[in-house]
């Protein structure tokens, strides 16, 4: 049966210890300054006095049902695996254009400064193959992160989803339909950015028959331009992307 991997997170128990971030970083040998996952933090309201509280929100690629990054990819390198629901990157087919990075409203992708291809969470598929949980889930001290197959009613993730109220961090106008569920409520909610498609790309997809996409693909000019962009985009351009992500 097809799987639908998802994460159900109880952010109310996250203590912001960073274990998930280091575990992920080690598992995937991520470069300094870049992450596949994160912990966001709400700004405490100290006017609440003794009831002042903090809330921490673990996250990573939400492996959306409507993956804007996939729509933005001109080469097919980024795709949603129908067997697992994992949004994957086939680096061999990536032309390094960076469209997917800006198309993700969750800033879940970054350009790898050495490999110069986008990188993001893949639910640790190597670990899944070994029968292990994703690195962030396995290590979490308070087990805030629950990972599982929503198509398997026996899974803890499916159980939680069935029995508990959840919220999603959604985007508008384009709803990405994320597969990341937060139990009860979570903060902050207002951090996702806009879905940005490069102008040429959106004109094309918006106006013309999808067949034209093939035409675009065929366009040697475009490919060459992308290729040149990849070859000459060094760390400078990835820094720009970082700034965008922070903003």
């Amino acid at each position: 049966m097809k799987k639908k991997y998802a994460m159900v997170v109880d952010s109310s128990v996250c203590i912001d210890c960073k274990a998930c971030m280091v575990s992920c970083k080690v598992q995937h040998s991520l470069p300094r300054g870049h992450w596949r996952n994160w912990i966001k933090e709400m700004r405490p309201d100290f006017s609440l006095g003794k009831y002042t509280y903090g809330h921490f929100q673990p996250g990573n690629c939400m492996h959306c049902e409507n993956p804007t990054c996939v729509h933005a990819c001109p080469s097919g390198a980024t795709y949603k695996d129908e067997e697992t629901g994992i949004v994957q990157i086939n680096e061999d087919f990536c032309i390094g254009c960076g469209n997917c990075i800006v198309a993700c409203p969750y800033f879940a992708r970054y350009r790898h400064p050495v490999r110069r291809v986008p990188d993001k969470c893949d639910y640790c598929q190597d670990r899944l193959a070994m029968g292990l949980q994703p690195a962030c889930v396995d290590t979490c001290p308070t087990k805030a992160r629950v990972f599982g197959d929503l198509n398997d009613p026996e899974s803890e993730a499916a159980f939680l989803l069935r029995t508990r109220d959840t919220v999603k961090i959604t985007t508008s106008p384009e709803d990405t339909k994320p597969n990341m569920y937060y139990l009860a409520s979570t903060e902050p909610m207002d951090w996702p950015g806009e879905v940005k498609y490069p102008a040429a790309h959106s004109t094309m997809t918006g106006l013309v028959n999808p067949l034209f996409k093939i035409a675009v693909g065929l366009s040697g000019l475009a490919v060459a331009a992308m290729l040149i962009r990849q070859i000459f985009s060094g760390s400078e351009s990835s820094e720009q992307e970082e700034k965008k992500e922070e903003a």
């Binding site: 003794k50 080469s75 390094g96 290590t139």
Partner: protein, 729 residues
């Protein structure tokens, strides 16, 4: 890659070209998907070589969480939690995960080194093990002859092999042994020992009401308490936090009271005042001095306490009623690092006595007695040396000094003064007083009286940087360790072993081997004439199959009794019952019941400095690129109003000065800190350039904290220092 442009490799270029060609050939998304074989779908090329799994236990702090090391091609790639380790509840924190960069760290000590220039100058010469060991043995024996064996002080750190350093010191003949504990938890230990007869383990998981004061367990991890606190909260336990800072623990508590620093005792005495007025406390007959205590706390009303600690009287009364309602499944969390004030033992006594009134001793959700783990300490013969002095060097300097641990600060004082007798040698294993003990300049001055200083560590710590001989120990992942017993609250009584996951790197060697070699050269080789295997067997005598279980599961559990261990038998106190009124204190001239003393108020323009740490740092041991990424240097936290008065802005470089010293770091505006308090994290401002990630980054607490200590135990008092803060350009 130095010029910021990444050169494109030929292979990469070909791949890219092929990809471009594929696209050029019209292979668009849907079609491409079908053509790509599933295994390669993510485009990753898994490393060749089988991944093997090895049980071990973490050593990035003292908790020793169960770990599984994943090794491939002889290299440790990843460390995962051992799900069978109940103590750590199947987790590894950020530091544990970062242990791969602990073992594979370019800053690691690689060879034995001998100092050539002046101390602290950093002029080292690589020597052979033979030469380093010969020289060390000769120097130690020389001091023993000239100044007796007690003329060498030993400081074993937190480690599974620290027991061998202790044994080495004992057999060598020195009782001047101390460790980091007098910078940490001795005042808590003293307070609870003198109340319950032993140091308790809080049964956080089964508690229904917990007051946390002077502790930050959601950042300063204690397993299983940290995880259990969250689990208990899920199960309805109410959590009340008193802290001058809005810590992560405060952030997740039900209520957080920003207590004025140093006034915790006022809160707890008032709490007791309310509790004893009620009729709920069932068993004054199982305590010593209850009636005297009722009289004693009569004046400590909630209204009085409000003026002292800043927590409203009605809140104190309410909390008192709520917690008695929840008792005995309720507790004041004992905490761990209680090296804060000059009356820390008395502050913790006030908390311990509150626990007495909650009647939670040896019961679910309360404070637990030590469980039987069953691991033995193999016997060794300690020789007698006629010329040795009568007692340890700082004996009698504090009324409640621990005989076996003493106090680093009081010992340092004795080394400087040379009284009552000289200490001229220092043998340090994995301790870093230069970065952790208050008044670093004094520690440096102490070295003037030290003729020989040998340091075993895996890094050139600030302390090692001032040594004469530096010996590279191996890391925990390269070790064969003796059986290590642990208690994890109600979770478990357990034990584990470590076997090498990888071989010793460079010329690093196990501490046990170093001690064996030294003992041979110093004439007591027979005391260390055993193997770790032989030692382990002696340790687990009577525990059938324990070693096999440790090999199989990474951990052994002893299903020993958890609750009701005393079952009516007398406690290990003088009176045999819980001592609210401590008779020994009466004799030594200490207050038999805690008497509140108001902490000094910082004069205008000054602040009380408090110190602590985050969840991703362990004091001074975290020179780790995976962890410094979260915090490249420490900052001085200050309330926005205080900063405004001083004309300081966020990120300003400031100088923090006390009577002991000064250091510089950036200012961080923090709305969550009490207005007359500033805070900084430990572990920065290193003096050793070979702690390259924290070298001269931020400020060192050791440089600024003044040399004050708890009067009863000689434990450091790290929150007594008042500082001035000024902007520097």
């Amino acid at each position: 890659m130095q010029d910021g442009k990444t050169p494109i490799s030929r292979r990469r270029f070909l791949q890219t070209s092929m990809a471009a060609a594929a696209v050029g050939a019209g292979l668009q998304s849907p079609l491409v998907k079908g053509l790509v074989p599933r295994v390669q779908a993510a485009g990753s090329r898994p490393d060749q070589g089988e991944i093997t799994s090895h049980f071990t236990a973490c050593d990035m702090c003292f908790n020793r969480c169960g770990m599984i090391a994943r090794k491939q091609n002889g290299v440790i790639k990843k460390l995962d939690p051992n799900p069978k380790c109940l103590k750590s509840r199947g987790m590894i924190c950020a530091r544990g995960n970062a242990a791969v960069k602990h073992i594979y760290n370019p800053d690691r000590l690689k060879y034995p080194l001998m100092r050539k220039g002046k101390r602290g100058e950093g002029n080292w010469e690589r020597v052979s093990w033979e030469e380093a060991l010969d020289y060390t043995a000769e120097q130690l024996m020389d001091i023993a002859e000239k100044h007796t064996r007690c003329g060498v002080m030993f400081t074993p750190g937190v480690d599974s092999q620290a027991r061998f350093v202790q044994q080495f010191a004992d057999v060598f003949g020195s009782y001047n042994i101390t460790n980091h504990e007098s910078l940490c938890l001795l005042s808590r230990n003293r307070a609870y020992l003198d109340t319950f007869g032993e140091v308790p383990y809080p049964d956080v998981l089964h508690s229904r009401y917990i007051i946390i004061a002077g502790a930050n367990p959601l950042e300063a991890f204690i397993t299983p308490d940290t995880t259990d606190l969250i689990e208990a909260k899920k199960n309805g336990c109410r959590i009340v936090v008193l802290d001058p800072r809005f810590t992560r623990t405060a952030a997740l508590a039900h209520e957080w009271h920003q207590i004025r620093p140093g006034t915790d005792m006022a809160f707890f005495l008032a709490l007791c005042h309310v509790i004893v007025k009620g009729e709920r406390f069932c068993c004054p007959d199982k305590t010593f001095g209850y009636d005297k205590f009722v009289e004693h706390v009569a004046k400590y009303t909630p209204e009085w306490a409000e003026k002292e600690c800043g927590i409203p009287a009605r809140d104190i009364s309410r909390i008192a009623h709520e917690i008695t309602e929840a008792a005995p499944r309720a507790m004041v969390y004992p905490g761990r690092r209680t090296s804060d004030y000059e009356d820390s033992t008395q502050i913790r006594r006030a908390m311990a006595i509150t626990n007495v009134l909650l009647d939670n001793w040896d019961r679910p959700g309360g404070l637990l007695a030590s469980r039987e783990v069953g691991v033995r300490s193999p016997f060794y013969h300690i020789p007698w040396y006629d010329d040795n002095p009568f007692d340890r060097v700082e004996a009698g300097k504090a009324s409640g000094l621990f005989d076996d641990i003493g106090s680093f600060q009081l010992m340092r004082e004795a080394v400087i003064s040379g009284e009552p007798y000289p200490i001229r040698g220092w043998f340090s294993f994995k301790t870093n007083f230069m970065q952790t003990a208050p008044d670093r300049q004094k520690t440096i001055r102490m070295l003037d009286n030290i003729d020989f200083f040998v340091n075993i560590d895996i890094f050139m710590s600030d302390t090692a940087w001032f040594a004469d001989v530096v010996l590279p120990g191996n890391s925990f992942l390269e070790r064969k360790d003796p059986v290590h017993p642990l208690q994890g609250s109600s979770a478990c009584a357990c034990a584990f072993i470590r076997d090498p996951v990888v071989e010793d790197m460079f010329e690093s060697r196990p501490p046990f081997w170093i001690l064996q070699e030294l003992s041979k050269r110093m004439g007591f080789g027979e005391s260390f004439d055993f193997t770790i295997e032989e030692y382990r067997k002696k340790q687990v005598e009577g525990l059938d199959g324990a070693l096999e279980i440790m090999h199989r599961d990474g951990i052994y559990f002893n299903p020993s009794k958890v609750y009701g261990i005393y079952a009516g038998s007398p406690l290990k106190t003088l009176s045999g019952v819980k001592e609210i009124y401590n008779q020994r204190y009466e004799r030594s001239g200490d207050d038999p019941m805690p008497v509140y003393r108001r902490p000094s108020n910082p004069p205008e323009g000054q602040f009380r400095l408090v110190v602590g740490r985050t969840a991703f740092f362990t004091q001074s041991r975290t020179n780790n690129e995976l962890l410094t990424e979260f915090m490249e240097e420490n900052t001085l936290h200050m309330h926005p109003e205080s900063a405004e008065r001083l004309g300081l802005k966020n990120n300003d470089l400031v100088e923090v000065a006390s009577r002991a010293g000064k250091d510089r770091l950036r200012l961080e505006i923090d709305e969550g800190i009490e207005k007359r308090t500033v805070y900084m994290a430990t572990g920065f401002g290193s003096l050793s350039p070979q702690m390259s990630l924290v070298y001269k980054k931020g400020a060192s607490i050791a440089e600024i904290l003044e040399d004050t200590h708890d009067e009863i135990t000689g434990n450091a008092a790290m929150h007594e220092t008042l500082v001035s803060v000024r902007k520097v350009s």
